[in-house]
Symmetry: C2
Subunit: 297 residues, 2 copies
Amino acid sequence: MRIGIIGGGAVGLLTAAYFSKNHDVTIYTRRHEQAEQLCTYGLTVMYGNERTTYRVHAEPFVRAIEEDVLFIAVKQYDVTHILNTRIHMLQANAIMFLQNGMGHVLHLPHMPHNDIALAVVEHGALKIDDTTVSHTGVGRTKWSVWRGEKETFSFLSVTDARFPFQYVEDWKTMLIEKLMVNVCINPLTALLGVPNGMLVTHAPYRQAMEQLFHEVASIFELEQQERIWQHVETVCQQTAVNRSSMLRDIEAGRRTELDAILGYVIERANERHIPAPISTFLYALVKGKELEGEKEK
Amino acid sequence: MRIGIIGGGAVGLLTAAYFSKNHDVTIYTRRHEQAEQLCTYGLTVMYGNERTTYRVHAEPFVRAIEEDVLFIAVKQYDVTHILNTRIHMLQANAIMFLQNGMGHVLHLPHMPHNDIALAVVEHGALKIDDTTVSHTGVGRTKWSVWRGEKETFSFLSVTDARFPFQYVEDWKTMLIEKLMVNVCINPLTALLGVPNGMLVTHAPYRQAMEQLFHEVASIFELEQQERIWQHVETVCQQTAVNRSSMLRDIEAGRRTELDAILGYVIERANERHIPAPISTFLYALVKGKELEGEKEK
């Protein structure tokens, strides 16, 4: 099958690598140099002490793409840009989104494609350089159909054991659960400069996270709050020594996904005239850190 | 006049030094060693390139004190302990409190003393070691009578030009204004690790501070909010390069005055069943930092 992957970050590279075993994969990058490097040196996945290099095709995303299936693996802030300005360039029967946030869901009704799926990636992955990704934690990719036929994506059932896909019925619950995890873990670890585990092992931080969780859960009128809270705690425990992607972005002076995560929450609260004092306060503090870092560059 | 000063921190030492010129001053310390050192080496004030050393008497605060006037210059968390367990040891006609918070005010009705005054110190002072204090910023000490005769404290009008006292009518407004300054500046700078000025020059931080200010102003049903907000901003500007005492405490792994400042706000909110989400959230984050530091010790 011809698979196109837009985005040469950690998630894009990881997905490309594991599909390369059985499919004809092309990676569409933002920068020319990365595409050139991938064509020249191949794509390497590090897993423990193991290094595996795959031949892949890569090119910059500058013209219309024709593929059987397209995976959109860019950051949330780039997906909006693509959907606003380049929908006509996405020529594929089926499209799957691999974003953390929920902002792109609002754009889906305007897409011409028949089969659209949404997914959340629960792997640990760290981009080492333009052609290398480290698979730091094996998880799974949950996915669900937003519009169209589930069978279009049946090829997902035959994947590498280290890169399993799991189908879920309810895409909304799937995305909101992932959003809740990101809302709870990312901004707080980025602000406090602590690894994920501290949010459950250090009582005052756990208290702050719980306060934030309840505010956001009310905004989304979340059902099964107790179960989702336990899920958030479990993720903190399972990734205890990890530094969250937002913390790493802050430390590197990069733009974060704050807008896609906490910004999205605040927008939904504003729309519905629900006060969101903690989310707003935390947003300002992390945004301040982000801009401090950018100034220093 | 015989003046006793309880507390050998920055404020206690600064006050003792400036009164030593015209009065018979004794400093009552927590630790024996500090008292011995002060008796042996005197008390030194650094001001710019100037160093002035004063002969002072000092002893540990372990027995009843008899003085004409007593200044209570210990941290808020120690003043409660003293007022709960050692009121009988404070044998003086007049007492003046030099605390940042407001927690001690609740204890005043139980005190037997006739003349009780409250003060807030607006100087920059940094304790260098047990016998040295640096006067980093000349301000003034505002004071007001809580009970008794204003004339008892008339000696305050004859002080060093660098250490002026200013009488104000309304002790409550005086303390609340100081509390608002401390609430706005101390916990945020401690959490963010930034000097005071950043809270007004960096837009997202300013936004967060304003959100906090309005929540606390509502809890205290503050009048003249606009004027007090401007006062907070002015203090940030005037002390722009300073690192707040709470930030310094966090950096040194010391206990902070968080309970006296934000803890007090939360208690008042709880008493009156007013929600205080931002104060509660910020309290947890800074308390977490404080305990992280203590663990590392």
